[in-house]
């Protein structure tokens, strides 16, 4: 059998995908089309059958939580975590950037103390840069998103320990 790609190369590709966090990978080239989908990605789309209706409750909790935690536009939204930890979530859909420009220093690093109103990141949506600010004073505990990653509404971005 003659393939446009060496079997060794396929093996190497599978290994790379396996190691990475990508759920799906596809490659198209002259005479060749490869699509790799991880098992976990497929399962996440399986519809729950009767008897496992717990998830429906989660949706309701999410909505009541939301109504209690309305924030001003431009500020990150909060959710309670551990004791004095708060989560800053994305208030819009876009691309997350850690720094004001590609060669600049990131706005914050883990361990930094941040003040209310301090810019933590930029979310770019449709070519517009939106600065996302902290609304608490605290220490940056965790940064949950990679630079240039796509984020959706409500996606957790930062965990801050209130001071």
């Amino acid at each position: 059998m003659s393939l446009p790609i060496d079997p060794e190369e396929i093996r190497a590709l599978l290994h790379i995908i396996d190691e990475s966090e990508a759920a799906e990978f596809s490659l198209e080239a002259e005479g060749l089309k490869i699509r790799i989908k991880k098992a976990s990605a497929f399962n996440s789309r399986v519809v729950q059958l009767p008897g496992t209706i717990g998830f429906a409750g989660a949706a309701v909790q999410g909505t009541t939580g939301e109504s209690e935690q309305e924030q001003a536009p431009g500020a990150g939204e909060q959710q309670q975590l551990a004791e004095n930890h708060v989560t800053i979530s994305a208030p819009m859909v876009g691309t997350f950037y850690r720094a004001p420009s590609p060669d600049a220093e990131p706005f914050v690093e883990v361990g930094d103390v941040v003040e209310p109103g301090q810019t933590l990141c930029i979310i770019e949506a449709m070519k517009l840069m939106n600065e996302i600010e902290s609304d608490v004073r605290g220490r940056m505990v965790d940064i949950l998103v990679e630079n240039a990653e796509a984020v959706e509404y409500g996606q957790p971005l930062f965990i801050i320990e209130k001071l």
Binding site: V47, T52, G62, G94, M126
Partner: protein, 467 residues
């Protein structure tokens, strides 16, 4: 053909579009609000983006978030479904300006037909019969009184920027006219952001007959026959059928031709529906044009065998319509019942809540378009529709029998539904006779005392069969 499409909608229509995409090997991107995280349309899409909190205004109508998701997902096209952003010209425009194909007509066509007064004027110029009335918006009360005197009472006051049955009032005398116009203006301003109103002759108990049109981007326009949507309660459709029962073939032909002329008059492309009111004397008048896929499209699909949503994708991708008008034939009869989470015995009050057990009917000639499932939470944030039940058979009589059997089998436990209401309507001799007008449901409800709450003899669940 498109590689990837974002569906800017939710519920059953999002699923419908997704299925059509999958059949064409198109990757699907879903958007959802936080309340819809567990929705079927989200679970079955290839990718999904949360675009906001539960409230529609901040999620499904959130144009920046939706367009942002579309660009992040690198889609080729967006399908707006029906309602929501489907008829917002700005949304169509902004998709195009981002290099994303909007699956529907141009923003100009949407804008033109969205202005009810302007649409009517356009139709008149195209030789499509219109309901006699004011030419465009009414300038002042004096002009309104004059026009009403000319065309004769009763007259209907309508909001220019309205639609979907909202912002309409009937005046039967001059004193009512003056009073109702100021009320209508205030309501229109609050609901649609414009206090422009127009008036037209009010037809007593007309039939609502609409025609499905399909137009490609190369100037070819065809019609797919008519639908009868006269079963309405407060201007909301409950039961639809195709073809319109008892419509004289010659009248059917003239209405369909008028619909094609209407579509050509606004350089229409993709799928659309032209609505007409037909009075007892066989006069027909343009009412409005819906520049989108409609809820009741399945009845046309079942009698013509033409997949309308698939054609929407093909047309938007630039394919010429492979169907000639002479190819379009209507075979048999189809009926659709909209099953809503409403209590028909309590003035159709919406009943959000969790569906504990959901078991739809099936079998030959039975189609269910729904995104409900056992455990699904019908939320209070969106419309109350749970499912569309559509049946087809060789004749109207057989289709009615099939629909009754299907309703009997349809189990939706946990919320009240309109299934028992549909069962009652289908038993009525007047419905059986066919040719009912838009007054029918209101009279049916009044006669049966549907306004008042019934005593406790109805069961708590809403299975079609009395358990």
């Amino acid at each position: 053909m498109f590689r990837k499409v974002l569906i800017a909608n939710r519920g059953e229509i999002a699923l419908r579009i997704m299925r059509a995409c999958r059949e064409l090997d198109i990757e699907t991107v879903a958007i959802f609000s936080e309340a819809d995280r567990e929705s079927l349309h989200v679970r079955l899409a290839d990718e999904a983006y949360c675009v906001g909190p539960p409230a529609s205004a901040r999620s499904y109508l959130n144009i920046p978030n939706i367009v942002s998701a579309a660009t992040l997902a690198d889609v080729d096209a967006v399908h707006p479904g029906y309602g929501l952003l489907a008829e917002i010209p700005y949304f169509a425009e902004i998709c195009e300006s981002h290099g994303i194909k909007f699956i529907g007509p141009s923003s100009e066509a949407i804008e033109l037909m969205g202005d009810k007064a302007l649409a009517k004027a356009t139709m008149q110029r195209a030789g499509v019969p219109v309901v006699p009335g004011s030419e465009g918006a009414v300038k002042n009360d004096r002009q309104a009184r004059q026009i009403a005197a000319d065309i004769g009472y009763p007259v209907m006051i309508k909001a220019s920027a309205g639609g979907g049955g909202k912002g309409m009032r009937v005046a039967r005398s001059e004193s009512e006219l003056v009073r109702f116009i100021s009320m209508a203006r205030a309501e229109a301003d609050a609901s649609f952001g414009s206090d422009e109103v127009y008036i037209e002759k009010y037809l007593e108990n007309p039939r609502h007959i609409e025609v499905q049109v399909l137009a490609d981007e190369h100037g070819h326009v065809i019609h797919l026959g008519e639908r009868d949507c006269s079963s309405q309660r407060r201007y909301q459709k409950l039961i639809e059928e195709a073809p319109a029962p008892g419509l004289a073939p010659d009248l059917r032909e003239r209405i369909a031709e008028a619909a094609v002329r209407a579509a050509e008059a606004c350089s229409y492309t993709n799928a659309g529906t032209v609505e007409f009111l037909v009075d007892a004397d066989g006069g027909f008048y343009f009412s409005e044009m819906n520049t989108r896929i409609q809820v009741e499209h399945p009845v046309t699909e079942l009698v013509t065998g033409i997949d309308i949503v698939r054609w929407q994708l093909l047309i938007a991708a630039g394919e010429p319509l492979a169907i000639q008008q002479s190819d379009v034939k209507m075979r048999g009869h189809a009926i659709e019942c909209r099953i809503n989470a409403e209590d028909p015995y309590n003035d159709f009050a919406p009943c959000p809540g969790r569906i504990n057990f959901y078991s739809p009917p099936g079998g030959n000639g039975v189609r269910v378009d729904s995104s409900a499932y056992s455990g699904y939470m019908v939320s209070p944030f969106y419309d109350a529709m749970i499912a569309k039940l559509i049946v087809w058979d060789d004749s109207r009589e057989k289709a009615i029998a099939r629909m009754k059997a299907a309703l009997y089998d349809f189990v939706i436990d946990g919320v009240k539904t309109t299934i028992p209401f549909h069962q009652e309507v289908l038993e009525s001799p007047e419905f059986h006779k066919g040719g009912i007008g838009t007054d029918f449901i209101a009279r049916f409800c009044a006669d049966r005392g549907f306004e008042a709450q019934h005593g406790g003899e109805r069961d708590g669940g809403s299975g079609g069969h009395r358990a």
